[in-house]
């Protein structure tokens, strides 16, 4: 079981999965970071992103990768709208109010999708779906490689956006200290709507990419949503760079768990990790190291 061959192939899978996990969790982290709102509707937008990509493929014969990119502006607008119409109105209330509001939105999205597309499994098959590339002695599914590289590229663009543009710097300032940002003349209200749009755009984009790897139903988002929570908690909630760390930890933990237990229990690893991380290290993995030094 523990041959070097096995370990290396599990590592390759983990790294590829980590890319996907990072891109799907980034939106959640941005929204939480800027406004401390737990976006339960992320699952709904992830699912909607997958279905929209399917719609483009069916009507416009658009490739899923192009579809995922097309989702970005559309979902940005949708997220902006959700913030202005719903979230802004309950932000002054207890934190649980916005969580419940977005939970309601998730229910609406999920069940609307059920009415429109039914509950059957959907999938998009492209010319390259079943292709694999040789990688030294191993074979790597082409779709996984594509998802990983596209996710990495988009995160690189985001990095540039956050570090070198005004709105990106303003966003990071708001994450660090909303009041100080306000005092420095940053329109935090506008940053919030921008962040919600950006977060939702990420969900739509990730959902689009995921059609390359998974089949999907209107219930599609739920398990990924919980994994995203695990990732941002592991990464240290307010730390955007932590998302990559959290995604890597979760991907490795899941892949290696398969060596020890039934594959059907894989999700339990993520959920257990979520509860443990919330209780033991609310500041993320980084806080464990911080305490020691």
């Amino acid at each position: 079981m523990f041959t070097a061959q096995n370990l290396i192939s599990v590592c390759i899978t983990s790294i590829l999965t980590a890319g996907l996990y990072a891109i799907m969790s980034y939106g959640l982290a941005v929204i939480y970071g800027v406004m401390k709102v737990v976006n339960l509707s992320n699952a709904g937008f992830l699912m909607l992103g997958a279905f929209m990509t399917m719609v483009y493929a069916q009507t416009l014969h658009l490739d899923p990768i192009a579809g995922a990119f097309l989702n970005i502006p559309l979902f940005f607008a949708a997220g902006w709208l959700v913030y202005v119409a719903l979230v802004r109105r309950v932000r002054q209330a207890l934190p649980i109010a916005s969580l419940l509001m977005l939970f309601g939105l998730w229910l609406v999205l999920q069940n609307l999708a059920l009415v429109v597309w039914g509950s059957e499994d959907q999938s998009i098959i492209t010319r390259y779906t079943y292709k694999a590339l040789p990688f030294f002695d191993y074979r790597v599914a082409l779709t996984r490689l594509i998802v990983f590289s596209v996710a990495l590229a988009v995160m690189a663009v985001l990095h540039v956006l956050l570090n070198h543009t005004y709105i990106g710097k303003a966003l990071r300032a708001t994450v660090q200290d909303p009041e100080a940002a306000l005092l420095a003349g940053i329109d935090t209200e506008r940053i919030s709507s921008f962040a919600f749009g950006l977060g939702t755009a990420f969900a739509g984009f990730a959902g689009g990419l995921m059609t390359l790897l998974f089949s999907f139903t209107p219930d599609f988002g739920g398990p990924f949503q919980l994994k995203s929570f695990t990732i941002i908690v592991l990464g240290g909630l307010e730390n955007l760079a932590g998302v990559t760390v959290g995604a890597t930890i979760l991907a490795f933990a899941e892949s290696f768990s398969v060596l020890f237990m039934r594959a059907s229990l894989q999700n339990v690893v993520a959920y257990a990790l979520l509860v443990v991380a919330l209780i033991v290290m609310p500041g993320g993995v980084a806080s464990l190291f911080g305490r020691r030094t």
Binding site: V38, A93, L100, V108
Partner: protein
């Protein structure tokens, strides 16, 4: 102290601090409000036994009306669970998305003991007890989390339980489910049993709300640290509230298993089961007594009506309703009913304008 408690009690929890009418009112009108509220409470206290007695007559008058008895059974089961959920979620303000775990554990306890020869009714206390013990195991670590973090942790716990149960196929029957004996009591018996459960949950919730324990829960909901400073043993209170509500939901699970004669981890441990309780309490009115009752009645009626054409369309309707309620009437249907009640009483209108 007592008068301020009674004036805030019928209002329930308000999610918008600025919108809490009872909290931010000048003294004089608050007293007037309290007086009206007291009338409302007295009327409600009389209404409940009367309603219960009237509903108890149904199986005697129409013992063969299966549709009506089934409607009653499911509605009362939801009423009992909504009231139970509300003890932690509403009174203490800890919104849990994981109650399916208690429901499922209760259902499987009854099922397994029944299969080994017990009479189902005798297993109900054990079902409740097991759910309560599990709630303690989960609650001790997770109830240390506040607000949204607790909610997220409970989603994780609930889903983890569902998957674990699906994989414990030796015990739960796994994905193929568990068939139970087919010799069961009449529908009228189930109707009455569920009504009794709802009455027990109502009595428990009403008693807690008026007790020192209930005041402690309200205090820790409003300000955890302040409550602790005043000597409320918050950790103990939260866990006891969690256990009481888990016990009630566990017994409901047992009753459900007896009725259905077939169990599957995906039905009794489902996320839908968990969110049904959240929706019932929220839409009815978080932290009120009548909220979950109204919420459950509407919830099951809508679900039953839409079930045949779209099995989950009621969740769409409830999602929209949830958003609307959070935007316009955070006190839910109970708050709406209280508003209408006040509007109908003469002399109430002037005090309403702030």
């Amino acid at each position: 102290m007592i008068s301020s408690a009674s004036s805030s009690s019928p209002g329930g929890e308000d999610l918008r601090p600025g919108g809490g009418e009872e909290d931010h009112r000048p003294g004089a009108s608050a007293a007037a409000d309290g007086g009206r509220a007291a009338v409302r409470v007295r009327a409600a206290a009389l209404l409940a036994p009367a309603l219960g007695a009237a509903l108890a007559c149904v199986p005697v008058l129409a013992p063969r009306n299966i549709t009506l008895l089934n409607l009653g059974f499911f509605t009362f089961l939801y009423v009992a669970q909504g009231l139970a959920w509300n003890i932690l979620g509403g009174f203490a303000g800890y919104v849990s998305f994981g109650y399916a775990a208690f429901f499922g554990l209760g259902a499987y306890t009854t099922a397994l003991l029944w299969l080994s020869g017990w009479t189902p009714v005798l297993t109900f206390p054990l079902s409740g007890l097991l759910a309560a013990v599990f709630s303690l195991v989960v609650g001790v670590p997770t109830l240390r989390l506040v607000g949204p973090y607790f909610s997220i942790a409970t989603i994780g716990v609930g889903e983890a339980m569902r998957i674990l149960m699906l994989n414990l196929d030796r015990i739960t029957g796994g994905a193929s489910g568990l068939n139970l004996p087919t010799v069961v009591p009449s529908k009228a018996w189930f109707y009455t049993a569920a009504l009794v459960m709802a009455a027990i949950a109502y009595a428990t919730a009403t008693w807690i709300r008026g007790s020192r324990f209930g005041l402690g829960l309200a205090a820790l909901r409003m300000d955890l640290e302040a409550a602790e400073t005043l000597g409320v043993r918050t950790a103990l209170f939260k866990n006891v509230a969690h256990m009481i509500s888990a016990f009630l939901v566990g017994v409901c699970g047992g009753l459900f298993a007896t009725y259905f004669q077939y169990l599957h981890p995906d039905t009794v441990f489902s996320f839908t089961e968990s969110i049904s309780l959240v929706l019932i309490a929220l839409i009815g009115g978080l932290g009120t007594i009548w909220g979950p009752i109204l919420g459950a009645a509407v919830f099951y009626a809508v679900q039953d009506y839409l079930q045949t054409s779209y099995p989950t369309l009621h969740l769409l309707a409830y999602g929209i309703l949830l958003i609307v309620i959070l935007l316009f009437e955070p006190r839910g249907l109970a708050g709406l009913a209280a508003r209408i009640w006040d509007r109908l009483r003469p002399g109430a209108a002037p005090a309403r304008s702030p």
